[in-house]
Symmetry: C2
Subunit: 165 residues, 2 copies
DNA sequence: GTAGAGATGTTATAAAATAACATCATGAGC
DNA sequence: GCTCATGATGTTATTTTATAACATCTCTAC
């Protein structure tokens, strides 16, 4: 499932280096505050997840990791790091892509809503309260107790629409 | 990932045989109307998907199929049938489970919203207009064109809550 | 009846995820 | 500082999920 997207556009114009640095700093702070151990490996995996705003597969991250180190790493290593990062709310898993993406606002709510562009592959995290409450209401109406809502909307982002009119 | 759930409860009380027969009849009608070929194989796979209201993995269906026939079937056979059924809107894929479930109202809208119970494993399909419009509005606000919204809500259904208070 | 499209069969392989167990590192308590 | 227990990582093997490439069959339209 190598989804080769042309170029990411959704966030094309921003200072991505800053964006990553920011994410790492917030992760450091959050983990310190919680007494969670953001080890070197986990931090590196987090950085690799953040290397773009496109969800990345575990094996893609694995490759990066292996390449950086020269030696090859086992899948489990990456999966374990990802598991930790997801638990800490630093990374989200995009179910419909079997891939992972950095969380835009760790520490906060976490409804897990994404607009996934078919064009560029970017996944924009949103946190729309009306979606959240609509889901909650629908569930309550059926006596269903919500634990983890997943919203993944496939479509085409603004930039990609402009490119291909 | 063998999610062995105790017993399905969400739809425990209904006449499931009737439920399946109904689904097959509607599928026949829809495909006839569209000129789509609901072959014997595809119909059998549809029936197996409907064997419960729990999403079933492709390989589980494959096993059933092989067992029924004595001879073993190839995965691709099942995947191709499922692909057809999903295209026709007769079956939905639950992304977060890598599994398939019969569509409650084929031919109709198809927003693809599910309440997935962690207890019994049942996936109740809902079609809540306020969820649909909330997603649509959120997308529009960001210039995003929606193609396929996916909503999969993990939680605990009414019956399972009553069982484990 | 025949051609052609679409459906299925067959074999092999890729991609994604986990299991079981060994070893290593870190930090709390002494 | 040392020790031990806990948690993190390494290693090897395997399972689960999904697709590729190509051959053969089977309907349907003509």
């Amino acid at each position: 499932m190598s989804t080769d997207h042309p170029t990411p556009t959704l966030h094309a114009r921003h200072d991505h280096a800053h964006c990553v640095a920011d994410a790492l700093t917030r992760a450091d702070a959050l983990c310190a505050q919680r007494g969670a151990r953001l080890t070197t490996l986990r931090r590196r995996v987090l950085e690799l997840v953040w290397s773009s705003h496109r969800p990345r597969g575990a094996y893609a991250i694995l490759e990066d990791l292996s390449q950086q180190d020269g030696k090859s790493t086992a899948p489990l290593t990456v999966y374990r790091a990802l598991e930790f990062l997801v638990e800490q709310g630093l990374v989200h898993r995009i179910e419909s892509l079997n891939a992972y993406v950095g969380c835009a606002s760790p520490g906060a709510s976490h409804s897990g809503q994404f607009l996934v562009c078919e064009g560029c592959g970017d996944a924009a995290e949103i946190d729309d309260s009306s979606i959240r409450t609509a889901i909650e209401s629908a569930a309550i109406a059926r006596g269903f107790r919500v634990q983890r809502p997943t919203v993944e909307v496939r479509g085409v982002c603004k930039d990609c629409q402009e490119k291909h009119p």
